[in-house]
């Protein structure tokens, strides 16, 4: 992408100030902050597989949207929410563990996605932009939805963060304190699902789980408190996303992959730092 521009005599500054690039950068910053924020609950509740599961569930919704010709986001968000609720329902009402439920929904959603894609002709290129992420495809709609999600996320900090954190530490104690953990879990999974769906254009289905988990995991290695872990995770997620985005343009490497590689490098550094602690 960049080489093509440079061959035409366009400078790096020109590339970085292109509207698509600014949209991608803003979306990246907003969504990475959310990923870092919700990621701490995912990591501390040992739900890393849920990120992968919801990412792949979104594939089914996106393919459905592409097939029936509706903006995939509007189909994928409710589709992924339903899958999230389905996973929680199976966990609560059967003898199966959450990871089994995730495994089932994961594959069923991918199978449905493949079916819908095979039915829709000529839209496979769109599907690829979700699979691997594509900066060019970030639209203003994505930006508005990201902004709404960030405002919602900020609104959860004064009350819900503390409730979720308490339930993460000890859901029974949280219950005794009057927190209705089941409905709050549902809300957390719903917000996580929406964040994952909107993030797909930046990082892609295949890497979205890492995008949610790695900054929080790095923060976990360095933080002494859960509040500190949350702040550090958001900071790590935003920094690695901006760095990864910039590097992906400079090195002409797919963005999602570059971001996750930068995050992996940060994780390695956190491991080294934590060992010396």
């Amino acid at each position: 992408m960049l080489t093509a521009y440079l061959e035409e005599g366009i400078t790096m500054i020109d590339v970085l100030t292109q509207p698509f690039m600014i949209r991608a950068l803003v979306a990246g910053v907003l969504l990475s902050a959310l990923a870092g924020y919700y990621g701490v609950f995912v990591v501390q509740r040992r739900l890393s597989f849920l990120g992968a599961g919801l990412g792949h569930a979104a594939f089914g919704g996106i393919a459905l949207g592409l097939w029936i010709g509706i903006q995939p986001l509007w189909i994928a968000i409710p589709f992924t929410l339903l899958v999230g609720i389905g996973i929680a329902w199976i966990r609560d009402h059967t003898r199966l563990a959450a990871d089994t439920a995730i495994g089932i929904f994961f594959s069923v959603s991918v199978a449905l996605g493949i079916l819908f894609l095979s039915l829709s002709t000529g839209r496979n290129a769109d599907a690829f932009s979700y699979l691997f992420g594509s900066l060019l495809s970030v639209t203003y709609t994505d930006l508005w939805v990201s902004t709404a999600l960030v405002l919602t996320g900020v609104a959860t900090i004064p009350r819900l963060w503390g409730d979720w954190a308490y339930a993460t530490f000890d859901s029974e104690a949280a219950n005794v304190s009057g927190i209705s953990t089941r409905s709050q879990d549902m809300l957390l999974v719903s917000l996580l699902a929406a964040t994952i769906v909107v993030s797909l254009k930046v990082v892609g289905i295949l890497l979205v789980a890492a995008w949610i988990v790695v900054p929080a995991a790095s923060a976990r290695l360095l933080a002494r408190t859960f509040g500190g872990m949350t702040r550090l995770s958001v900071l790590f997620a935003v920094l690695t996303t901006v760095t990864g985005l910039a590097l992906s343009v400079v090195l002409d490497i797919p963005t999602g992959a570059m971001i996750v590689l930068v995050q992996a490098a940060l994780f390695a550094a956190a491991m080294l730092l934590a060992r010396g602690d």
């Binding site: 409730d163 530490f169 005794v176 509040g227």
Partner: protein
């Protein structure tokens, strides 16, 4: 006063607790004793409204209905079994104690809150642990921290589930002294699950011997009889010295 009326807990059509009724006067210290799998922890969870059950529980004049998560408004301090704690959670002692004040996990701790937390920790001789990550605490230290947390808002009821598990004898004695003192100073009603009959005899005013149903209930010295223990456990082989009999298997 705690009154349980026909508490029954079932799982997979099997009775875990059957028709439990008792009335504990205010200011009493109840020890719940019985064999493993006899439903001691389940009873505590049912009393606290954490376990789905039939029957009713009454705290003072406030009644909580059957079912799970009933709208109990009575403040109760609860010291859970520490073996269930997630030690991988990044938390400091002061945060864990502050959850009892804030009713949610604290984002940060202000100085007013820290003062109250420090006082609560001092009352269980654990003030020095205030800034310690919880993963560094020993079982006994953690138990005292939990006790400070349970007592911080001076609740009229204090529940302890197996406080002696994983704690050495001296640590247990210190802790029970703190519980006794709390009961004397505030007139609190204490409910404690224990497998240690000595503890039941020395600290408790009342005892409930439990094996899925009430074997005996009453003042500790009456309720913990050789007959009741034999019925609950099937034998008295573990009652070292309690009845002056030593080992005596059926």
């Amino acid at each position: 006063m705690i009154q349980a009326n026909s508490l029954t807990v079932q799982a997979a059509h099997r009775d875990i607790l059957k028709d439990i009724s008792f009335k504990l006067p205010t200011g009493a210290f109840l020890a719940i004793i019985g064999p493993n799998g006899g439903g001691k922890s389940t009873l505590v969870r049912a009393l606290l409204g954490l376990q789905k059950h039939k029957g009713t529980v009454q705290f003072g004049t406030a009644e909580s209905g059957a079912g799970k998560g009933s709208n109990r408004r009575v403040p109760i301090g609860y010291v859970p079994q520490i073996k269930t704690l997630d030690r991988s959670f990044p938390a400091l002692t002061e945060e864990l104690v502050a959850t009892a004040l804030k009713k949610r996990w604290p984002w940060t701790i202000d100085s007013a809150c820290r003062t109250i937390v420090r006082d609560a920790l001092r009352s269980v001789s654990a003030e020095h642990l205030i800034g310690e990550p919880i993963r560094n605490l020993s079982g006994g230290e953690l138990q005292r921290v939990y006790l400070a947390r349970a007592m911080i808002s001076t609740p009229p009821y204090l529940f302890l589930d197996e406080p002696a598990a994983g704690v050495d004898v001296a640590g247990t004695a210190d802790m029970l002294e703190c519980v006794e003192q709390f009961r004397r100073e505030h007139g609190a009603t204490i409910v404690m699950v224990t497998h240690d009959w000595d503890v039941a005899m020395h600290h408790a005013s009342h005892a409930l011997v439990l094996n899925k149903e009430v074997i005996s209930f009453g003042p500790a010295h009456d309720a913990v009889s050789e007959d009741a223990i034999r019925k609950a456990f099937g034998h008295v082989g573990h009652a070292h010295g309690v009845f002056g009999g030593g080992h005596h298997h059926d």
